[in-house]
Each structure stands twice: as C-alpha cells, then as structure tokens.
C-alpha cells in the first residue's frame, strides 16, 4: 500500500514499513496430532495445509484427525485422568499451570509471529494482547487449582472428567488458553480441537506442554475440520463439551448433546450495541468505536458492530468517525504499524462481502475506507454503513468483519430498546460522562459483558460469555471454574 493514497493529513506523513521477522516463527513444514504427549501421525495419513491469509502462501501442513484419531485422543485423556491427573494434588496442578504460563512468556515473540502468520491479524495485537493474555489466563487459573473449595461451589468440588474443547480461528492461542487453563485447574483432562484455518499456535502450545513436563495425555490436540469437531462432540467418552464459535454450530452441538449426560457451555455469536450518549467525550468515543469494530478485523464475537448514537451528536460522531476510519493502516499484518490485517479466510471474506452488499441493497449508506489493499491475500477495507434500520440484515446478523452499522436514538429508553432488540446478548458498550446513567443503562442491557467508556477489554479475572442466543456459561474469573466442576 502506498501512503500517498491516504487522504488524511496524518496518513500523508507516512510511515516506513516496520516488519517483524517471519523467521522468528521457527515453524516446521508439517505437524502431526498431539496425543498422549507425543506428536503422532493420523491414522489415515490425511493432511491439510494452513495458509497465511495475507499472502495465500502455505505455511505448514497439519494432520487431519479422523474419528478414530479422536477415539485415541479421548482414550488417552481418560487414561491420564484416571491414572494421573485425578491423583495429582491441586498444588501440583497449579505448578504445572504456572510453568506453562512462564513458557508462553518465554516464547512469546515466536507465538506472536506464528499467530500473525496463521491468522492474518496484526503483529501489534498478537504481541501486545493475544499472547500476553494467554499467559495471564494460565497464571490466573494456576492459583485456583489448590483453592477450589473457596470458589463458591461447595466444600469439595470435583472435576467433570474429560473435556472436549472446540475453539475458533479469531483468537487461536488465547481461546486455547481460555479453555485449557480453567479445565486443568479444576482437575479435568482435555481434548482440544483448534480451528481448521488456524491450527499452528495450538501446536506450538503442545511443544510448550512437553517442555512443561505436563503428564502425557492430560492435554491432547487434534487438528482437523468440522468432522473432527463433530466426532469429538459425539464421542461417548467425553464428559463435557466447551465450544466457542457461531450460533449456528452451537445450536447443532446443543442438539447433539441434548440426549446425553454431557455438560455443555457455549460461547457463540453477537451483535454488540455500542451506545454513545451526547455527553460522552468525543475523542475517546471515536477511538472506542474504532476499537469496538475494527480490532482484529472485526473478527470478534463481542464486536461493537451496531453503533447507537444519540441523535443530537450523530452527525458530528459520524463525520469524525469516517475521518478516523480513513486513517486506519490496512495491510501487511507483520508490519508493526498495521492497524487492520487480513481477513482470515476466503470463505469469511465472501460472507462479509455478501452481507455488505445486502447493506447497500436494503438502502443503508455505505462508506468505505480509501485505503489500498494488497493484491494477494484476503482483504476487506474498513466499512461504515449509516442510515441503518433495525430490520436491515446488517443490523441483525453477525458479519464478523470490519463493517459497522450506525443507528441513532433520542432517549435512553429508546437506546435500551434498540440495543436489546437482538437474538444475541454477548456484549455492549456505553459511552457517557454520567455515571448514574451508565449504571442505569448497564442494568437494563441484556448482555453478558458491558463496557462503560471502553470496549473490547479482556482479563482472566473477568467473566466473559453471553445471554440468549450468544450462549451460556462463563469463561474467566471464579465463574469460569463452574464450567469444569461437577456442581
């Protein structure tokens, strides 16, 4: 991308590219399944490639786990549960988790590079958010392992057993940490299924588990596609399923699990409302809106994808927002100056295009960043739709991309009504200088997470999860333990 194309004054100043070195990734050409503490060949010798979505180049080949591989992985997890992990004291489990946290920190730059290459998200985000937070989740839950009786679930809470965990492609390493850390702290063993398009950081994590000396079989990692996930969901040897992904797939999983005694937690889609009142500090608001929807290319289930602006400031907010959108640096994710990276896959790009086209067809006003997009790879310019009606598809459906829908409101009551007018209920933002109003709004929003004068903040101590069709169960905090305890 050439800086001349940027229309803003700031953009015109330009930056030289500040590229992170891809060689830091130290990737191997191919990876097997991580079962019983070893990398093993899949039974059918099937493999698939993981590509860099910013370049469409293959970066590694990974094994495709069949149902018989899942079988072996579950048997390994069961054996480890019965023979080792259920007999390992909480204090000892804690020390394994602390080790893992430290090893993630030690290999943080490598993990950040792998994640950016595999996912397409900017190196600034993987370096400053994904990887440090992954370590933080292991640190936090490590301390719970020997304190479970204080967690509020009775005097002697027991683990569930073998947990099957299926994670998405938007935060591959972080989601692995969200799943594994509480499960292991609570005393479960795990079979983790990374997303098809982003399996690599989980396999580096497997190396870290080896370095930590985690007993064999306590964590097994089976790479593959939806059929691998389905085999895990249906496996009779699994006691608990934890899934993060789309509401469509979550619904199928809930149906599959319904006639069984398996426990289930679901962290699904969202259509977060970001509510801006007229007294909010506008500079912070603009940055908050940007963080809310363009962070991680909008591949965030809790993204603030519906902006609700009070009518009296709507023109001013939109004008300044569009100017800021034009300044976003879109391009090579390995460039430390990049704000918005590549769309994760061709399929996701197609979905974003389709829904954006619907936005135009249904009569919303489209603004697209004037940034240049690289010739190769999957890219979508940051996009804002104004004059959006609640009935428009772009106001109702999760786009999971850098596309913002702007609606307006007059009164706080109207803001609440519009924010809650969704089958989802994952996250919302509220922007106002008036604390009493913020809390009044927060009390009435049907959402699992509410950010007041901030957006897209995550912390291991803070429970995260949805209401309604955004799923059930919490990850993070004391509440996150409940998903992995027999209580």
């Amino acid at each position: 991308m050439t800086d001349n194309s940027l229309t803003s004054e700031l953009g015109a100043l330009g930056y030289d590219a500040a590229l992170e070195s891809a060689s830091l990734a130290r990737l191997q050409p191919s990876y097997g399944l991580f079962i019983d503490g070893q990398f093993t060949e899949p039974s059918r010798h099937q493999q698939f490639t993981s590509i860099n979505p910013a370049t469409e180049e293959t970066i590694a080949t990974v094994a495709m786990a069949s149902s018989s591989d899942v079988d072996v992985a579950v048997a390994s997890a069961r054996r480890a549960y019965n023979k080792v992990w259920s007999k390992t004291s909480g204090a000892e489990r804690a020390k394994y988790l602390y080790r893992i946290a430290r090893l993630i920190q030690e290999r943080s730059r490598e993990l950040a590079v792998v994640e950016t290459l595999d996912n397409g998200k900017p190196i600034r985000e993987t370096r400053d958010i994904d990887v440090p937070l992954a370590a933080a989740y292991f640190f936090y839950y490590a301390g719970w392992a020997d304190k479970l009786e204080y967690a509020g679930y009775g005097p002697n809470p027991q683990p569930v057993g073998v947990a099957g965990q299926i994670i998405p492609w938007n935060f591959p390493l972080l989601m692995a940490a969200w799943k594994l850390a509480p499960a292991l702290a609570a005393g479960n063993t795990c079979v983790l299924k990374p997303a098809e398009t982003t399996p690599l950081s989980a396999l580096i994590l497997a190396e870290i588990l080896q370095q930590a000396g985690l007993p064999e079989g306590v964590v097994n990692i089976v790479t593959g596609d939806g059929t691998t996930g389905a085999a895990l969901v249906d496996h009779p040897g699994v006691d608990k399923i934890a899934f993060t992904g789309s509401t469509e797939v979550g619904r199928l999983i809930q149906e599959r699990v319904a006639p069984t005694s398996k426990r289930l937690t679901l962290e699904l889609g969202g259509k977060g409302a970001n509510i801006v009142f007229d007294d909010a500090p506008i500079d912070e608001v603009i940055e908050g809106i940007i963080d809310g929807i363009f962070y991680n290319q909008g591949h965030v289930c809790c993204a603030g994808s519906r902006l609700l602006v009070q009518e009296s400031v709507a023109d001013e907010v939109l004008r300044r927002l569009l100017r800021r959108v034009d300044q976003l640096r879109v391009g090579n994710p390995m460039d430390k100056n990049t704000d918005v990276g590549a769309i994760n896959s061709a399929a996701q790009l197609e979905r974003i295009r389709e829904l954006s086209n619907w936005g135009e067809q249904e009569g919303a006003t489209r603004y697209t960043s004037s940034c240049d997009l690289p010739a190769k790879g999957y890219w979508f310019a940051p996009t804002v739709f104004a004059n959006v009606a609640q009935s428009h598809r772009i106001a109702r459906e999760e786009i999971f991309g850098p596309v913002l829908s702007v609606l307006t409101f007059r009164t706080p009551e109207e803001a609440i009504a519009k924010a809650n007018n969704s089958k989802y209920g994952l996250a919302c933002g509220v922007w106002s200088e008036k604390g009493s109003r913020t809390l009044w709004v927060a009390q009435r929003l049907r959402a699992g997470v509410i950010w007041a004068n901030t957006y897209n903040k995550f912390d291991p101590t803070s429970p995260f999860g949805g209401v309604r069709e955004s799923g059930f169960g919490r990850e993070g905090g004391r509440h996150g333990l409940e998903a992995y305890l027999d209580v």
């Binding site: 809930q254 319904a258 913020t438 699992g448 509410i450 901030t454 429970p463 919490r474």
Partner: protein, 283 residues
C-alpha cells in the same frame, strides 16, 4: 335435617394473576391416588401457553425492577398465605399422592419452609453469585447475576407440591418469571399454591400455572422463542426430546442429576446470567 352439601371448587389455570378456564374450553378428569373422582381440571391449550408466556415476559420486567428486599417480602408473604391454608394444602397432597395425613403434613411444612428459604435468597444471590473482579487496568469491574428472563418449568409429576415449589421458587427468587406445567395427574396442590400468589402481592404473571397434558404442552414450551430457560424435571421420558427442542433457541436447560442434593444452588445458577460491567476509573 340432611348433612350440608360441600361447595366444590372449579380448578382453573393461573395466568397473569387471573384464574381463567382454558380458552379451548377443555377440561380433564383428575382422580385421587386411590382412583376416585377429584375434579375436572382445565386442560390448557397451546394458545393458553402462549398467553402465559406473554404475561410472564411483561411481569418479569416489573418483578426484576422491584428491589431485592421487596421481592423477598413478597415471597415471604407467599409462605404466610400458604401457612394460613395449610389444611387445604395437606388435604390436596394427601388426595393427590395417596400418602398418610401425617406425611402430607410434613410434606406441606417442608414446601412452605422451602419458600421461606428461597425468599431469603432474593437479596443474597447477588452477593453470593456475583463479585468484584481485580482486572489488570484502571477499571472497576463487577459481575452480577441477572435473571435469564422467562423460565418454562415442567414440574415433577410425582411430588405434587414440594417438587413444584422447588422448581418454581428457585427461578422466581432470582428475578425470573415462570410458566409452569403442573403435574398432569396431580395438579391441584400446585394450583392451590399458585392461587395464593394473588394475595401475596406478586405482580400478575410472575408465576403462571397451566394444567393439562404434559406431552401436548411441553414441546411448545421447549420451542417457544420467547422462553429463555427450561426445567425438564417432570418431563420423564420426554426429557431428551425436550432438551433437543430447547436447543433451537439456545435455552438454558435444567435436568435433574443424582448429585443435586439438599441445598444445591444448581437450579438457581442455571437460570441466572452473569453480567459483567467494566467501568473506567479516572479523574
């Protein structure tokens, strides 16, 4: 002079604080445990169920907007009303379950005590299930349990009063509204107890009780898009099917487990959502 003839009661539905017959005009015969005619009870239809859900949705907002202290007072008053009509409840439990009078008395006593127990949770669940979270940043971050919304309850079939109380009082005490299907063959204790909510200052519609055919009504409750959670305790062999139907709208589903003993809060936890607020700290 002949013996006085009893004034028999017609058993109707409890919907939105009123006592309607089924809009379908249907009723069904309910027998005592020893096989004698007890009453013609209203047989609710799908339309009755939908109206009950509408009533519950609107009542839930009022119920949750009341203070926790007030919700506790109202639930405690429900126990007071039940205490005053213990003899009637005992008679119904005895007839419905076929137990000895002494056992029916103990069962009613336990049921009332359980309402008192749940009344006390109204202003404690927030503290016990919520908390402050020490996030690494300049934020005051706290988590609160908020009600899931409207909960469908398929009340236990055998335990006509105690089972019913357990299933409805848990979701109600944390701010939900309930649409309950009473035990199909033993419905009258639940109806009598639910009638008492009218004199306990509940907003109409917080507890709605339908009588009728479980296998006819329960699937509609499970698939209703405006029902947020489902307790399938009384679903028996329908349980798997109901849990599957509930997945269509990602409902929270409570199914009994062997380790749900004593004062387990699992039912209560199933029907609350942890809502976490991040509030900036700054000058």
């Amino acid at each position: 002079m002949s013996e006085r003839l009893d004034v028999k009661k017609t058993y109707k539905l409890v919907v939105n604080g009123a006592f309607p017959r089924s809009e379908s005009g249907r009723s069904y015969e309910v027998m005592t445990a020893d096989g004698k005619f007890l009453a013609n009870v209203a047989q609710a239809s799908r339309k009755d169920l939908r109206e009950a859900v509408v009533a519950a949705r609107s009542a839930q907002v009022k119920w949750w907007n009341a203070t926790a202290y007030n919700r506790g007072q109202v639930m405690y008053r429900w126990a007071e009303m039940a205490e005053g009509r213990r003899a009637e409840l005992v008679e119904h439990v005895q007839l419905a379950e076929g137990v000895k009078k002494s056992e029916a008395q103990r069962s009613v006593a336990r049921a009332i005590d359980r309402i008192v127990w749940y009344a006390g949770w109204t202003d404690k669940a927030t503290q016990v299930l919520g908390g402050a979270n020490p996030v690494a940043g300049p934020f005051f971050n706290f988590s609160l349990p908020i009600p899931s919304g409207v909960i469908g309850v398929i009340a236990p079939q055998e335990s006509s009063l105690e089972g019913f109380v357990e299933a409805v009082a848990a979701p109600i005490c944390v701010g939900n509204a309930v649409v309950a299907l009473a035990s199909e063959r033993r419905p009258t204790p639940a109806v009598v107890l639910a009638e008492m909510t009218a004199t306990a200052d509940f907003p109409g519609g917080v507890l709605n009780v339908l009588t009728g055919c479980t296998s006819e009504l329960a699937p509609h409750l499970a698939t209703h898009e405006d029902v947020d959670g489902l307790d399938v305790s009384g679903g028996a062999e329908l349980g798997d099917e109901l849990a599957l139907l509930a997945a269509g709208s990602i409902k929270r589903v409570y199914r009994p487990r062997v380790n749900d003993v004593g004062n387990s809060l699992r039912r209560l936890r199933t029907f609350v959502e942890t809502s976490t607020v991040w509030h900036t700290i700054g000058q």
